[in-house]
């Protein structure tokens, strides 16, 4: 498509109408509220103008997952020295087993348990008689087999809440018996409208079952920070940590990618919370602000523009030494940034991108694409709330297509019409998009690549986008005897 026509408000509004016309009336009405374009409000600020965090319409093929996915898959699952029990039938734990790529160091099955699938594997008798007694015994068995575990989490699947099991009582009892934290997380999949409530429930479990229940011995410094809501996908949290250490901060807790329980327990001792994925962990940051008076700062470590802005923003919370360090670090990495841009920008400049991802990436990665000269023509969130969309408008150009909780039907039509040069979304969207001849990168798992955070990650991000967009295979779609 020609660049003149991109982010054409009228065309995009017409496209939305065209798509909505395909729905039955009631569903069209519901979906209309979730589709829009970026517009300026009365004060001239760009807004997305869509409703969000509302129940998905039945039968439309939402991309969303459930509360369990948010609590186990996202927040608790990466905590490496705890055994996480998928409590209920076999499936949930099986499908989420080792799929998030939360990297960690440690010995699996001995002192680390991230890439294991531990489940109570509910049978019919558990549904009938309840699962509490067996859960109690199961925890004893896990203690025998994994004595170096540092705690246990119990993540409820759908039936637990429906049959009235009391996993809190079991947790209290076992916690006392073992002298360890045993943490119930009420993340039944039918709760809420998406993964998002699962994040919230998981945050509340940290508040109620971890904080103020003993902190490992600790000597603080004025530069202690927590790195919050970086799940270390493909190792993301490590280049982030490196940058923070380089500017002179001490990261005392990394949540929850590569975290140990101790890093969560001592978090209230930090001077500042730095939050990357606002959506999944703002709750606990607000709680720490209220209860422990720890301020929090949002930052964005995707792409050099936002990395530099974030380093300055973080440094501004500290003294001049830190601020000077931040400038030094930004300068230190500038040659790397220049090299990456010199290599990839000419290959990517002007290419259009559509995104559809989860918590922060629909906005956070937008400027990383900008850095490469690429243009976002559409973006949306699986499970955002209004405050996410409020944080999104200024990252985008007027007229950009916005789709909240998009259905696969809508997404396919949007891709077909906008024909972007790249789509960034999830595994469920990858292959259908590529069939259409449109390059694709998974933006949840980094398509088995990464890290993408920090300067080290930006080089990989640029390389990967180039590989996708400029792969030679896209010129071979049509058989030569058919092309014409």
């Amino acid at each position: 498509m020609s660049l003149d026509n991109i982010n054409d408000t009228a065309a995009n509004e017409a496209l939305i109408k065209e798509v909505l016309d395909q729905y039955p009336e009631k569903a069209a009405k519901k979906r209309a509220r979730h589709l829009g374009t970026v517009k300026s409000d009365a004060e001239g600020n760009p807004t997305c103008g869509v409703k969000s965090n509302i129940k998905s319409v039945p039968g439309v093929m939402t991309v969303r997952g459930c509360a369990y996915a948010g609590a186990k898959g996202v927040v608790w699952g990466p905590v490496k020295d705890m055994v996480h029990i998928s409590h209920g039938p076999i499936g949930c734990g099986q499908y989420s087993w080792s799929q998030r790529r939360n990297y960690f160091t440690g010995t699996v099955g001995i002192d680390s348990f991230v890439t294991m699938q531990v489940t109570s594997d509910f049978q019919e008798r558990d549904i009938v008689f309840g699962g509490d007694k067996n859960l109690d015994k199961m925890i004893d068995e896990l203690e025998v087999l994994f004595p170096l575990n540092n705690g246990i989490s119990i993540l409820s699947e759908c039936p637990i809440g429906l049959i009235g099991d009391d996993i809190e009582a079991v947790s209290k009892k076992k916690g006392k018996e073992l002298g360890k934290k045993v943490i119930p997380v009420r993340c039944e999949g039918f709760r809420g409208v998406s993964q998002s409530l699962g994040h919230h429930i998981a945050n509340d479990a940290i508040r109620d079952w971890v904080f103020d229940k003993g902190i490992p011995e600790w000597e603080g410094t004025p530069y202690d920070v927590n790195l919050i809501a970086d799940y270390n996908i493909g190792g993301d949290a490590w280049p982030s940590r490196k940058l923070l250490e380089e500017i002179g901060l001490r990261v005392i807790g990394s949540w929850s990618g590569d975290a140990t329980l101790a890093e969560i327990e001592r978090a209230p001792r930090a001077k500042l919370n730095l939050i990357h994925c606002y959506r999944s962990m703002n709750y606990i940051c607000r709680h720490m602000e209220e209860k422990y008076e720890i301020p929090w700062v949002e930052y964005n470590f995707f792409g050099p523009t936002q990395i530099a802005a974030s380093l300055r923003k973080i440094a501004a919370q500290f003294d001049e030494t830190i601020q000077a360090n931040a400038e030094k670090v930004i300068a230190k990495y500038q040659p790397l940034v220049d090299g990456v841009l010199a290599r990839f920008k000419p290959r990517l400049e002007g290419k259009t991108v559509m995104l559809y991802v989860g918590g922060l990436r629909p906005r956070h990665t937008a400027t990383a694409y900008d850095d490469l000269g690429m243009v976002i023509v559409g973006t949306g969130y699986e499970f955002a709330h209004n405050d996410d969309y409020q944080r999104t408008g200024h990252y985008l150009k007027e007229g950009t297509l916005i789709y909240d909780d998009v259905s696969e039907f809508e997404l396919e039509k949007f891709i077909e019409k906008l024909r972007p040069d790249l789509v960034g979304s999830g595994i469920k969207e990858k292959y259908s998009t590529q069939k259409m001849g449109v390059p694709f990168r998974q933006m949840h798992s980094w398509d088995y690549s990464g890290p993408y955070h920090g300067y080290d990650g930006f080089a990989i991000f640029a390389r990967d986008m180039d590989m996708a967009v400029n792969a030679p295979i896209w010129s071979k779609l049509k058989a030569p005897w058919k092309a014409a």
Binding site: V60, T62, Q117, R241, K430, K435, A459, K478
Partner: protein, 511 residues
């Protein structure tokens, strides 16, 4: 600085750079509060012991690294094999997202499936409104010829009645009264994905043979043979291989649930949500077939029983992989159809026997640990013994006593099975103990086996669902003589790789 624009390092090598190894070591030392390295090393050693194995096998409640999925996954897979059919999951939406991801990661294909997104209110009041609205939306948007409904455990626990709900939805005109909406109750707390597969196939047949226009009775034979493949990660290529045999023999057939095209669509500029699949008219007419052959007994028990109740003869097999399993299937097809097995197929068989004869010295007495679905494990054990290997540990998480007895009988009947053990209802953490205490030369299973390979150093051959970390295995068959040849080569390659890596002295050019 570890990173540069000219030599971009990603996760594979970046974290071995000194800046990162130092960072990770300091994080561990200062912030993680880990057990001492000595304690970790001691526990690691202990976890390899017989004593640990005994504790591991004493557990009755904890399930650790199981090798099975839940019923609706099998139902969604089965539903996808019918012409322009949209799988529909009644219950929580997260389940549908998981099924779609799981299948997509294995097949490297999109997997279409809608859910009706039941939440708290549906938990209290039931999911009737969801299904009424969901069916209407699904039909309007995705224009399927059939919607096949399965359930998640949420809908099962609250007791939603699919038959009544779908009836009500039709009364409310959310879909036309004659629109096919077969269904299967698929509680995930009963059985596994293989049972879900069975339930959905039965549900589809039951719709066309009993529910659509009242009970249908068998009429004049249509001369065909029905084939039910069962849940199979290699179905794309295996079904094609099977059809090649049938075409070569000149046998008329209906593959009931044929996913070979829907999970293997071309990239040519068009996304096909539906492709191929069993024609609905053929399903209707399948009641008049000469007979039904189930390729996987443990994926088809209820379906076979149902078909027999209609007066149609059936025959069940355990995954036609290897020489004798393929022989038996072809002879049965020949017997039922009256068509002889042509010489061209006999030659393929001869070539397989030839290949095994050429390589037998490298295979004889090799010990193998084997895990997977019940039919696969059975078939692979048979084939391994044909190769002269010993299926030392045969483990199946999702089988029952009947399978266990059948396996034991099989192994007892063959000298290569004399020392073999059957582990039913066990998981891959059990298998880890088995491999440390009674090691084998090879592991055969799925991608989940890679953790066993890493822990024990025993090489893994990926030959069953799911295969996430290797690409395109499912595009080549493992059924039949050609498939067995391919399995043979994969096993041999691993044996030769290990042999080459084992000794500088015996680093022979020719083996």
């Amino acid at each position: 600085m570890p990173q540069s624009a000219d030599n971009i390092k990603d996760h594979i090598s970046l974290f071995s750079e000194p800046e990162y190894t130092k960072l990770l070591a300091e994080k561990k030392a200062q912030f993680e509060c880990r057990p001492t390295d000595d304690a970790v090393a001691a526990q690691l050693e202990y976890s390899k012991s017989w004593e640990y194995r005994e504790k591991n096998f004493a557990r009755e409640h904890a399930v650790i690294n199981p090798h099975k999925a839940c019923q609706p996954l099998g139902a969604v897979f089965a539903a996808a094999g019918f012409e322009e059919t949209l799988p529909y999951v009644h219950g929580s939406q997260g389940c549908a997202a998981y099924f779609r991801s799981h299948l997509a990661r294995h097949f490297k294909e999109s997997s279409a499936c809608v859910s009706d997104s039941m939440t708290e209110d549906a938990a209290v009041f039931g999911g009737l409104n969801n299904i009424v609205e969901g069916l209407q939306n699904a039909l309007k948007l995705y224009k399927p010829k059939m919607i096949a409904v399965s359930t998640t455990c949420m809908a099962e626990v609250i007791g939603d009645d699919l038959s009544a709900f779908i009836g009500t939805a039709k009364e409310k005109e959310s879909v036309p009264a004659d629109f096919p909406v077969p269904f299967a109750h698929t509680p995930s707390f009963v059985g596994s994905h293989v049972v879900g597969y069975d339930n959905m196939i039965k549900g589809v047949l039951n719709y066309f043979w009993d529910r659509a226009q009242g009970e249908v009775t068998r009429g004049e034979s249509n001369g065909k043979i029905n084939i039910i493949p069962g849940f199979d990660g290699y179905a794309t290529a295996n079904n094609r291989e099977l059809k090649r045999y049938l075409d070569t023999m000149g046998v008329d057939y209906t593959v009931i649930s044929d996913v070979s095209d829907v999970f293997d669509t071309p990239t040519d500029g068009v996304y096909r949500m539906y492709d191929g699949g069993t024609k609905l008219d053929d399903v209707r007419d399948a009641i008049n077939a000469k007979a039904t052959i189930a390729l996987q007994e443990y994926c088809s028990a209820k379906t076979v029983e149902y078909i027999e109740s209609k007066g149609q003869p059936t025959a069940s097999f355990n995954y036609p992989l290897g020489i004798s399993a393929t022989d038996a299937l072809l002879m049965k097809i020949s017997e039922l159809s009256g068509k002889p097995i042509p010489e061209s197929i006999e030659k393929e068989r001869g070539r397989l026997v030839d290949a095994i004869a050429d390589s037998q010295a490298w295979l004889h007495g090799k010990k193998v640990a084997l895990f997977g679905d019940p039919d696969f494990v059975y078939a692979m054990a048979v084939f391994l013994m044909e190769l002269g290997c010993e299926p030392t540990h045969c483990l199946c998480t999702n089988a029952g006593k009947e399978w266990e007895a059948k396996m034991k009988e099989l192994l007892a009947s063959n000298p290569f099975g004399a020392d073999a053990k059957v582990w039913v209802g066990k998981d891959l953490w059990h298998l880890r103990s088995l491999l440390f205490t009674e090691p084998t030369d090879l592991i055969i299973g799925s991608s989940y086996g890679k953790y066993l390979e890493k822990d024990t150093g025993i090489p893994l051959v990926r030959l069953t669902f799911p295969i996430f970390d290797r690409h395109h295995h499912h595009r080549f068959p493992i059924f039949g003589y050609q498939g067995a040849l391919r399995v043979l080569v994969e096993i041999l390659d691993r044996i030769f790789e290990v042999t080459d890596a084992s000794s500088d002295i015996s680093y022979d050019l020719t083996r």
